[in-house]
Symmetry: C2
Subunit: 385 residues, 2 copies
């Protein structure tokens, strides 16, 4: 098995990008990644594209549009889909293509254009990731409703509070304000968050991630190639991936994601590290409760102690496991297909020491945690300087 490293990263500004179409967003991130690696399209052997939702694009083959517009024809390419974890699936597929020896360099580009669709339709389109036969259609439940159930179960079982949920938003906005590519670059107070508009009890608007446009790209290379390209290759040394039931009614426990526990176990084992070794993490805070559950399911703290973990500022820079110091989905934004790739960009920059005011000092080992829908898939990657 060949070693595989990230040798270049690119990231469009996330936000409401009326100035750029899907293909233009992809181009922004791809161009930056090539420049970062000092490579040209000729140096890329293949691409893997991530676009999660065909309804948002009103197109079933955005991958072809992206490869075409970014000058990557006629190189091998396909698109990966795993709802909001599509970007991490793309990195996983690219990793295996290189580790197998089939390719030496693969560019991964994740992109989603979400703001062209009206808000009620977006919520409907995002809800299409559930089980349409037995759950999402008959009951009409959408993502905020599903995560509200997780939050209620967690509050009931472990005494987690609405204030603790709000504190996740406070942290992520604090760091998002420092991140030039973040969608919503402003701090919020715990009082603001607590009195913001209710979406689905106990989740208020500040407990929810945003609808954003954006793209992110990484270039992966084999160890041998990577060392020629850059002095600071960031190796992906652990990969975990697991699935869980499509329907909520089949879950035994609403306070934990089985897919996260399983995927992280695989990744820690492969990387030969433990949760204590993680210097910086990007976790899937599509809703604040998801970040609290991630602390627990990834083993950053004991089960049920996620609320205390944020309260004690253990996920701040200076705490035990700095988490989402790029702003997370909450403040940076969550353009579905881009999100997993955006996490890889952030961890790479952190391990290279390029994050300025939000740099985790001396970070050597990073982790990304990317969920599909309500944990139907979880992808965990571990990175090492």
């Amino acid at each position: 098995m060949k070693g595989v490293a990230i040798v270049g990263t690119g990231h469009s500004k996330f936000g409401r990008r009326d100035d750029a179409s899907l293909r233009e967003l992809a181009f922004e991130s791809t161009k930056e990644a090539l420049e970062d690696a000092e490579m040209s399209t000729h140096d890329i052997e293949a691409t893997v594209i991530s676009v999660a939702n065909q309804f948002l694009a009103n197109q079933t083959q955005s991958g072809a549009i992206v490869t075409d517009y970014t000058g990557m024809n006629t190189k091998p390419s396909f698109t990966t889909v795993a709802a909001c974890a599509s970007g991490s699936a793309a990195i996983r597929a690219a990793w295996t293509a290189i580790a197998s020896g089939l390719h030496d360099t693969v560019l991964v580009c994740g992109v989603e254009k979400m703001t062209e669709v009206s808000t009620p339709r977006i919520t409907e389109f995002l809800g299409f990731a559930g089980d349409p036969k037995w759950e999402s259609r008959p009951t009409g439940i959408t993502n905020p409703g599903i995560y509200a159930m997780f939050a209620c179960a967690h509050m009931h079982k472990y005494g987690t509070t609405e204030r603790q949920l709000a504190l996740v938003a406070v942290k992520n906005h604090k760091y998002g304000a420092m991140n030039p590519v973040a969608h919503l670059r402003r701090e919020v107070t715990v009082e603001d968050a607590l009195k913001s508009r209710m979406i689905a009890y106990p989740l208020k608007i500040y407990d929810c991630s945003m609808i954003s446009d954006g793209a992110a790209a990484v270039i992966l290379a084999s160890e041998e190639k990577a060392k020629k390209i850059t002095d600071t290759p960031i190796f992906i040394v652990g990969l975990g991936c697991a699935t869980d039931t499509a329907a909520m009614h089949d879950r035994a426990d609403l306070t934990s994601f089985r897919s996260v526990v399983e995927a992280s176990k695989q990744a820690y084992k492969m990387a030969d590290v433990s949760p204590e070794d993680i210097d910086v993490a990007c976790v899937h805070d599509c809703f604040t409760i998801a970040e609290i559950m991630a602390y627990e399911d990834l083993g950053f703290c004991e089960k049920g102690r996620g609320g205390n973990f944020i309260e004690e500022e253990q996920s701040y820079i200076g705490g035990k496991t700095p988490t989402n110091v790029d702003g997370g989905l909450k403040s940076k934004g969550h353009p579905l297909g881009a999100t997993g790739v955006s996490m890889a960009v952030e961890i790479t920059k952190q391990l290279r020491g390029e994050c300025g005011s939000r740099q985790v000092p001396g970070a050597e080992i990073g982790l990304s945690h990317n969920l599909a829908m309500h944990g139907t898939h979880c992808m965990v990657h571990i990175y090492r300087r």
Copy 2:
């Protein structure tokens, strides 16, 4: 790089399957593949799912439904998308996962449920694979119209005739009638085909593949594992993949697919074989002209001689390169996400000598050729007994 072989195959009946939902079709094929390999779900380490079109499923995450319903939770999984070549992309991704050493056994399941959607909407949904910004939306062109342009260009440049196109349908229906899983199991005459209803000149209804429901599954294993599982592993020894422009107006030539030429070159080189070595082929005859172009672009005959190739029955059993002797997309059916996997099933059975009346005697090397839309992607796989 580890050797990778197919050790089990499963195939649902293709057709209008009012009796089965998407998840039930996936189950049919998966169960058969497990039984064929004498394996249980416990023996499968990971899955790759292929579902091409989210509009047909009215669902954005059918992969989660499939893994769930086929008992594959919590194993690693993601879905591949490359329009009608999604199934071959899934096999490519599974192949690299095994060749890299990440997994030893991967199940690939491709499925599509198409007949629940009304015909005008299907044509619209399939057209969503084009370039929406500059072509498919502004001009309203759909797939039959695009392939009609290829046919006209080929007729103009090489003198290919409507009768030659019809002969492709005659052959594929002849063999489809012998295939128990085919959608339309009846022979047609060249006269029937020529006088059938015009769809887009020169393509008549018998020049077009059908709207079908169906699923297919293959189990891939590392060489070491494969030899323990079966006495007849079928190795995938060549992989080719290439892309081309999303918009027709960017193509320099409408009589050849650049992606096919490029992908087949890669696959032949990797397998160290030439077109003359191919004993049996499954090619992407979404329209009859596509099969004629495939003969040429894959090197089965000279450029411009595809019409003669079918006229001389060189693609029949007993001819130079028996092609689509399972009925092809034309008669077997074309449930998008299933198609590439179905090709792998057929080639595996041919190389194992299990195809009865439509067996190519002594076949040792097979090839599959799977297109996305109008060749935006092409995946070519070469298999060896």
